[in-house]
Symmetry: C2
Subunit: 385 residues, 2 copies
Amino acid sequence: MRDVAIIGIGMRKCGELWDKSIKDLFVESALDAIDDAGVDHIDSMYIGCMTGGLFVGQEHLASMLSDHLGVNPIPACRVESACCSGGLALRQGFIDVASGMNDIVLVSGVEKMTDVGGDEATYALATASDQDYEAFQGVTFPGLYAMIARSHMDKYGTTREQLASVAVKNHANGSLNPLAQFPMKITVESVLNSVLVADPLRILDCSPITDGAAAAIICPLDKAKELSKNLPIKISGTGHATDTIALHDRADITYLKSTEIAAKIAYKMAGVGPDDIDFAEVHDCFTIAEICVIEALGFVEVGKGGSASESGLTALNGKKPINTSGGLKSKGHPVGATGIAQLYEVVEQLRGNAGKRQLDKPKRGLTQNMGGTGGSTVVHIMEVV
Amino acid sequence: MRDVAIIGIGMRKCGELWDKSIKDLFVESALDAIDDAGVDHIDSMYIGCMTGGLFVGQEHLASMLSDHLGVNPIPACRVESACCSGGLALRQGFIDVASGMNDIVLVSGVEKMTDVGGDEATYALATASDQDYEAFQGVTFPGLYAMIARSHMDKYGTTREQLASVAVKNHANGSLNPLAQFPMKITVESVLNSVLVADPLRILDCSPITDGAAAAIICPLDKAKELSKNLPIKISGTGHATDTIALHDRADITYLKSTEIAAKIAYKMAGVGPDDIDFAEVHDCFTIAEICVIEALGFVEVGKGGSASESGLTALNGKKPINTSGGLKSKGHPVGATGIAQLYEVVEQLRGNAGKRQLDKPKRGLTQNMGGTGGSTVVHIMEVV
């Protein structure tokens, strides 16, 4: 397999973008990535999108979006794995380049979520859970993650304040990110006083409904310098794993097994361990999710995710900064785009372009993107070479 | 890139399978393929499905189906390109094996279409067209293909009887296929007297709404004999191309450019031309589609697709047999599964297992699977080595 590098990225501000269609969102970010890389064509493209069918009545995005980007007849492939559709697009693009099939590949994600009302959006998102045994019974994602949170609190003594500290940190980071949907700073007190959604989770524990897109250009590492003037970022590890779709089928609902397995594969491929990762963008769809994720990634001991956040370990100036972009929580969570938006932040940090939230010369970052309650996870490790 | 071979296939009878869920359909065909190959595990899997969201309220099929097949935590990827989702799953699995990332890969397709009513199914299928400029205006697929048919008749003198001859041939073939949904023989007269759907297309010009699944096991060609006792079938060519999603954006609506381009790429990779193909399974979602497809594949001169069918060239005992399985028309069209169902027939023919519809020792077959009105096409060439 050939080594693969990222040479271009594109992303615009997330939000409730009622004046833009799914085509506009995709094309803007794709053109930005192509311009950033400085390439004059692309050979193939991958699009992560969770459910164009339920959100905008549009499937067949591979044809639709290659058409509107003006690049047909190139091969275009839409992939879906709920909220890790973006990460999966990156992985499949990686395999495409690594195989030798194509050289210059666009990997992207897009979701247009606000064209439907709240009930319809909740229904659409619930199709990422087990329709027969979870969604059909009326359980939605805040409820599922609330069960995980309650169980983590019972088992490890995780506190309500620790959950809140994740949101506070991510909004602090998001306040420094011009692309964030909700860049306001918040406090532990404001989280605790916000409206209850599914006990113990409150509205400020939840990531928002978001329109957005992100894109990147990848190519063989050994052609990166010839194709682009940008610092090539090597994708040194990729891992992908699945778990039961339904929460009730797991031995321990607080442990994200697919994340552990995907991370171990990626670490092995990159020849590194959790301690070698300078910073990470992880899937904080709810505050409890970030806590469970950093445990499964091996960044902290199992059961210590809450205290790690509260102590500042994962803060911008901490030992292991997590979600410097603001994460899904503050930056926004356009579900199919999130995995590529994570890549965008890692590349910005590695290039030294992260502005007010720039870390001190990081060399290696990780992205962890998951679907549902962890029924699927994709992990990538990216580094300066 | 490594050479890739098919070593196992699985498929059951298509139909209105109200006693089976999408999980059942997928698992049955996947287990059949695994049993047929005789492998004791799989390394990764690809699932083609057009719209689990709109048909059964279930996305995140990668997690759902790896779970219910009992193979999690392996990587699982759902791909979608409308009615060529199955062909795309085969292509992405091919790239996965060719790259060296995985050895034993399940490629599959599934669609459970009859849990919704006719209006909802028509809406779901229309999301493969341009929602803003086609579906929103009320044009559905029979209407789009009717425009193609009328244009082909005007431009080339194609007759109503020639369209009917495609359906008659495919039902004759399907009558010899135990897996066909509609195995009854029909006549030109019965097609011409069937109910009008969208002038000039009548109900017997249209493929049906179908529940079904199909699966195959692929692996590196050089490991095929060690992994399975079956005759390895080499995938000698793969081609994938896109076109405008909307019909009105094309210079000539009777010509399937994405099919021409995908086929040319596959021919080049396999080192063959149209004349070297012994038989083919093609996307006859409507009778006019098969006519346009065999022209774009280079099997017949442009404009001669109708007369080729009427003259018997494409019949089971003709010079270039097309859709020996009965095609989408008679065998059924579970949209996401169709591309893999085509592979199933080609492998059955190449193995000499096609029963009453067996061709005389064919050596090389082709599958052509397309999305929408040809907004995307995937072509594969398979041969005995």
